[in-house]
């Protein structure tokens, strides 16, 4: 059978999802696929569009994995628009004159922003808010503007207002209706939201009918004239007053169009031409079009299934939503306005904390119909499940939204109460059943479940629920959720750290006696050694601690394959004087050390024999160096770009900050090694977003990124906070470091730590910025103590006769290890391999066979 020819028009979120779903389900090579992508870039995350202003990179928003289309042999025509279609001969004509034949055509043309018919709405200061290009234009205009108005107080309008505010404009929102978010909130909820965002400096004008935008004004470039004879001056205007389906192509080829716009589709997403499907915001099902991404994703799945002969139907979509607008949490479920006849409401209103919650229940009080949540959306997940699965409500439904201090115990919606079909993650349409299958297939951690099912990788709002389903499934299948450190300690690292701190335990033996059993092993010994060092700043070479540490910590060097060590002095922020560099070169030459720039971009001297280490370090310390802790599970370095002191683009002194933070946190033992990065501007030359802690300069201060990784499994860091001054930044880093030290598993990098954290970055932000756990003072005190107690381990070691004894190779001879043999390599040398060594070998030759 020859390949079916498929043409997809539109490469937005839904168009891209369609292709992802198709290549996952279909046999490879069954289709010949052509995609028209009108915008100059492949599909990106429009939902998080405003984050473009904080990250300033389109790549960040991209939804397309690098090489995805190439890998699947899909022909994507970027920047090319489909302009006409001949349904009889099934040919698409493009803006470049191309003609593409199709067997099946998929319309995913999306929507366009509705601009109200106001005089002057096409002025040079008027914008819409839909694409990255729109954002770039707004950003450019904002540079010479002071005020900005968003027309439209709906979900997107408030998102746009947040963007204007982030650009530093005095921001106004103008809404035609008497309340904000008229679609999703009731009057009281809208009022609560208004109050809160007005307090944040965004001015809200409701019940305003704009008549004209005149291109003159006294304080600003334009004046908006309203029907009630009032006026508002502004420099720029952003229209965000709703969307309309882009159905012009469909109209042109005479497909059926729904009365209120949109290409009419049936339950299988087919249009009136059976060879043509329409999905996403351009489509209208039962005379309704859906302006959210989740229903669009569902349509994409249904259309793929229909093409492949699989059984699925589009059955409408739940329009519930949970979002954060201008920092205010808002949730809306089902019949938020209580329009169902006979329905009853329960409300909770707290002016002090700006919280408003309302649930709408059926006449008999048994089922949830809708909910409005403003200021606190922590109940959203449970309420949504109650509504979607029509689960019977508790006897007193108001207990669902009352705070804990109200006395009544909150009925918890156990994962067991949910049916298999319950959708847990609506971004990726993952059901409880699918998670259960993944657990049964051996995926037993949150990170595994996320990787396997995609659940929780969209908005992340469902993570607590995903976790409870995971734990319930594990419990059901008899798998105990165990976080034991090892066979010697039936406690997790976090629990042990707590015990060590609370009971002031200072030695491994004391901890083992009280909370462990047996002798200890390669897991618990170094882990406890690291915890004792983090908790008490205990010197790593203290005799009773030596037995806990890996050789690296005991000999203060990183052991190499031949038993020699590396020597890597600290060069905080990457700075080194010519004089110091000269000494380093002399020492390397004197001790015949192979020299290179390491992966962490420091200078490493390799091939030092153990008994030479004290003398080598003695010379380096005399020249002003100190240990670089390249051997330790601790901060390795802060990579910095040149920054504003020299660079013509830099906006802050990244080297200065890098030096200060490296010096502040050096020596602190962490669950795994840590790397920092500091960039002096948004060009990000220090690649800080691939580091455990990344700091990027902005005009207003520093953006703080956390939990990135460039190693085995690269992870882009998450933005924790923006535009911080240095004092606040240091405070946040203190808390971040100590919280990581206290709660991570042994040898867990920050990236994996965050991936496994229930609640993810939002939770971490709550802890660090809002003191959710009430421990920040303590975290800072702990760090301050460790910072105060820092001492260069090598300086201490070479001043201690006792310590030096341990560095000779033999306890009973001054000879050295004759098995350390070098051969020349590229003007320096490297360890000899076994074949090369055989000639030198004497003494204990082993009878085992080894690979060459």
């Amino acid at each position: 059978m020859s390949k079916q020819k498929l043409v997809v028009i539109g490469n937005g979120m839904v168009g891209h999802r369609y292709i992802e779903d198709l290549v996952e389900k279909a046999e490879a090579g069954a289709f010949d696929i052509t995609v028209f992508c009108e915008e100059p870039r492949l599909a990106y995350d429009r939902v998080h569009l405003s984050s473009y202003f904080s990250h300033h990179t389109a790549d960040e928003l991209s939804l397309v994995k690098e090489g995805f289309y190439d890998k699947h042999g899909i022909n994507v025509l970027v920047g090319e628009r489909a302009i006409n279609i001949n349904r009889d001969s099934r040919i698409v004509y493009s803006s470049s004159g191309r003609e593409v034949q199709y067997d099946k055509l998929i319309l995913a043309t999306g929507s366009y922003p509705f601009v109200p018919p106001i005089k002057g709405n096409d002025g040079k200061d008027c914008f819409v808010y839909r694409t990255i290009e729109d954002l770039k234009a707004i950003e450019a205009n904002a540079k010479h503007s002071k005020t900005g108005v968003v027309v439209g107080g709906g979900l997107l309008g408030l998102e746009a207002a947040g963007a204007l505010k982030a650009l530093g404009l005095e921001t106004h929102v103008v809404e035609f209706a008497p309340k904000l978010m008229a679609e999703q909130l009731d009057q009281a909820g809208g009022d609560q939201l208004r109050k809160k965002i007005e307090r944040m400096g965004v001015q809200v004008h409701t019940s305003k009918n704009t008549l004209e935008i005149a291109t003159k004004g006294e304080q600003a470039r334009n004046t908006m004239v309203f029907a009630d004879d009032t006026q508002l001056e502004t420099d720029l205007v952003v229209f965000s007053a709703g969307i309309r389906p882009r159905d012009n192509l469909a109209k042109q080829m005479a497909l059926d169009i729904a009365p209120r716009g949109g290409v009419a589709i049936n339950d299988y997403c087919q249009t009136s031409d059976e060879h043509i499907y329409a999905i996403g915001e351009c489509a209208s099902w039962h005379n309704t079009f859906f302006g959210l991404v989740a229903p669009g994703y569902k349509m994409a799945t249904v259309a793929v299934d229909h093409l492949l002969g699989l059984d699925s139907k589009f059955e409408g979509a739940d329009m519930s939503a949970k979002l954060k607008l201008l920092g205010v949490k808002v949730g809306s479920i089902g019949d938020a306005n209580g329009r169902t006849p006979g329905c009853k409401s329960f409300m909770y209103h707290n002016d002090e904390q700006d919280v408003y919650k309302r649930i709408i229940v059926s006449e008999d009080g048994k089922k949830l119909l809708g909910a409005v949540l403003v200021g606190d959306t922590s109940d959203y997940g449970d309420l949504l499940q109650l509504k979607l699965n029509e689960i019977d409500l508790p006897e007193h439904p108001d207990t669902l939204i009352l705070p804990a201090h109200a006395g009544a115990e909150k009925p918890s919606l156990g994962a067991d109460a949910l049916p298999e079909t319950a959708v847990i993650c609506s971004c990726f349409d993952v059901t409880k059943g699918k998670i259960a299958q993944a657990v049964a297939a051996g995926h037993h951690t949150l990170a595994d479940i996320k990787a396997e099912t995609n659940a929780g990788t969209g908005c992340g709002g469902c993570l607590p629920l995903v976790t409870s389903v995971l734990n319930a499934e594990l419990a059901k299948s008899g798998i105990e959720v165990k976080n034991d450190l090892c066979e010697h300690f039936a406690y997790s690292r976090q629990e042990l750290f707590h015990l060590i701190r609370i009971e002031e335990i200072k030695t491994f033996d004391a901890l083992l006696e009280k909370y462990g059993k047996g002798y200890g092993c390669e897991v618990c010994k170094p882990a406890v050694g690291s915890m004792l060092a983090s908790a008490w700043g205990e010197h790593i070479l203290k005799p009773e601690l030596v037995k806990l540490h890996d050789t690296n910590d005991n000999f203060l060097g990183n052991i190499q394959k031949d038993g020699t060590y590396s020597v890597i002095p600290r060069m905080a922020g990457g700075e080194v004087t010519p004089q110091a560099l000269k000494v380093l070169a002399e020492v390397a030459a004197e001790y015949n050390l192979y020299t290179k720039i390491t992966g962490a971009q420091r200078i490493g001297l390799f091939g030092a024999q153990k008994d030479d280490l004290p003398a080598i370090w003695g010379k380096l310390i005399d020249a002003g160096y100190e240990t670089g802790q390249a051997y330790a599970k601790a901060l390795r370095m802060a990579k910095t770009c040149v920054g504003s002191t020299w660079c013509r683009y830099g906006v802050q002194d990244s080297v200065g900050l890098g030096v200060r933070i490296e010096n502040r946190y050096k020596g602190i033992r962490t669950p795994h090694k840590m790397k920092f990065g500091v960039s002096g501007c948004t060009r990000e030359c220090a690649e800080a977003q691939g580091k455990d802690l990344g700091i990027i300069a902005t005009d207003a201060g520093w953006n703080m990124y956390v939990c990135g990784n460039g190693g085995m499994k690269p992870r882009h860091a998450d933005l924790l906070a923006s535009d911080l001054d240095e004092a606040t930044l240091m405070q946040y880093i203190d808390r971040f470091m100590m919280f990581y030290i206290r709660t991570a598993a042994p040898l867990q990098r920050t990236s994996v730590w965050l991936e496994n954290m229930e609640g993810g970055i939002d939770y971490l932000r709550e802890v660090i910025m809002n003191d959710k756990l009430g421990i920040n003072q303590q975290l800072e005190t702990d760090v301050a103590k460790l910072v105060d107690e820092f001492q260069c381990e090598w300086t201490e070691a070479i001043n201690d006769e006792q310590q030096l004894k341990r560095f000779s190779h033999f306890i009973n001879s001054d000879l050295r290890d004759d098995n350390v043999v070098f051969v020349p390599a590229r003007e320096q040398h490297r360890p000899a391999n076994n074949k090369e060594k055989a000639a030198h070998q004497k003494g204990d030759i082993l009878h085992v066979e080894l690979e060459a």
Binding site: G518, Y519, K525, D562, R806, F810, I811, G843, L846, V848
Partner: protein, 110 residues
């Protein structure tokens, strides 16, 4: 069997190992605790063919003591030299004892 005296017991920090030269062979000596008990095995990690085992961590598994190689953590039994991960990589074990506060090692393997 000839025992060779190599060092004072106190030369070995409790819980750690040292390397001794015994009849031309590199022997890793371990003192698991403050007790007068020592173990001796070959110092060579047979995987990397490097003389490093004396620098490994002393660990307990299956009620026996082992040393975990400082290079790639394979474990070798302190009494028998058996490699837990792969018996093709077993190493030699030597008799060792403490006499009057001095550590002695037999120059022939067990």
């Amino acid at each position: 069997m000839a025992f060779e005296s190599v060092c004072q017991l106190d030369d070995i920090t409790p819980g750690t190992g040292v390397c001794a030269l015994v009849a031309g062979q590199q022997v890793a000596l371990f003192r698991p605790s403050s007790e007068a008990e020592v173990f001796a095995i070959s110092n060579m990690d047979p995987f990397a063919q490097s003389n490093v085992l004396s620098r490994g961590l002393i660990v307990e598994h299956q009620d026996e003591l082992w040393v975990a190689s400082p290079l790639k953590k394979q474990r070798f039994n302190l009494t028998s030299g058996i490699c837990m991960e792969d018996e093709r990589f077993n190493i030699k074990a030597f008799k060792a004892r403490v006499v009057d506060g001095r550590v002695e090692v037999a120059s022939k393997n067990k």
